[in-house]
């Protein structure tokens, strides 16, 4: 079993109104050093061992998990720790 973590972020140049609101809130809390905030998504998948894990996950991202028009993604694959 593999643990796959997918990180999805808005593409550079795509306006992120949520990030802007978060940045403004951090400023009002006194964190003036925050020059930018961008909001993304984090998805964890438990995936049965498969010979083409990377290829399959890439396909999952392209077909559903991310929208290539507005989002970039990256993912990490590691051995799932059994609990």
């Amino acid at each position: 079993m593999k643990k796959v973590t997918v990180f999805i972020t808005l593409k550079e140049g795509v306006l992120d109104p949520q990030g802007k609101a978060i940045q403004a809130s951090l400023h009002s809390l006194g964190f003036q050093e925050v020059a930018e905030a961008r909001v993304g998504k984090y998805i964890e998948l438990q995936v049965e061992d498969h010979e083409n894990v990377d290829e399959r996950v890439k396909e999952m991202c392209d077909k559903l998990l991310a929208n290539p028009v507005i989002e970039d993604y990256r993912f990490e694959v590691e051995e799932a720790v059994r609990t």
Binding site: V14, L15, P17, A21, L64, L65, V69, I70
Partner: protein, 227 residues
């Protein structure tokens, strides 16, 4: 003429859409549950607004992967009309039937009020009953109606006259004030504002009626001519 209004879990404007074509226009219409549906005998497909699958992941993303989309794509390939309103538009974008994507409204707020729109292209089967550059009033009701596409796509939309409706006072940050676009083939229209909620003057506006009348008129012209 026979309309199918596709109902997904979380659709909530399906009955408004049904009401517009069935009770106001007196055309045939069915509410069609997205599972185990057969769309073969319908002349037009309407994708209503709402929050299909609770807007999980991205608005329209989950509905866009459902089996019914395969049938909708076949319907499109046959040249039959598909109209997607609000969440229906988001589903069409996610399914790749229209270019671009939706972002959160620029001020983050969910907006629900009437907007003035310009009919910039009245040479489509959905807008032929309007006058070119006519300004109409439809309600909007969305949190993610900020239409986004890159410059190349925008130029392509302009070049092929695919921008059909624009906002007079852009409420949500949409690229080029876009409120509604059509595919190159001219049979898939997506728009964020709700024409189906503007079909009776007594509830605020009947400016939306011409969208449905245009579809019917187009269908009558091509079918009566064939008899």
């Amino acid at each position: 003429m026979k309309f199918a209004v596709i109902v997904f879990p979380g659709s909530n404007c399906d009955r408004d859409m049904y009401h517009a074509v069935k009770e106001v226009l007196n055309e045939e219409a069915d509410l069609v549950w997205y599972e185990n549906s057969n769309l073969e005998n319908y002349d037009a497909i309407l994708l209503p607004g709402g929050f299909s699958y609770g807007d999980y992941l991205r608005s329209g993303a989950v509905a866009a992967t459902s089996d019914v989309m395969k049938q909708i794509k076949e319907h499109v390939a046959k040249g039959k009309p598909v109209l997607g309103v609000c969440n229906g538009f988001q589903i069409l974008l996610e399914a790749g039937l229209l270019p671009g994507a939706m972002l959160r409204n620029k001020d983050l707020a969910f907006m629900c009020h009437q907007e003035a729109l310009r009919v910039v292209n009245n040479r489509t089967l959905f807008t032929q009953s309007y006058v070119e550059n006519e300004v109409v009033r439809f309600p909007i009701a969305h949190g993610e109606g900020n239409y986004f596409c890159d410059e190349e796509t925008l130029n392509d939309l302009k070049r092929h006259n695919q921008i059909v409706f624009t906002y007079e006072n852009n409420p949500n940050g949409s690229t080029a004030d876009i409120a509604g676009i059509i595919n190159k083939q001219g049979n898939v229209l997506g728009l964020m504002p709700h024409p189906e909620r503007a079909v009776e003057a007594i509830i605020g506006s009947d400016d939306g009626l011409n969208v449905f009348q245009s579809i019917v008129r187009n269908w009558r012209e091509s079918h009566v001519a064939n008899v």
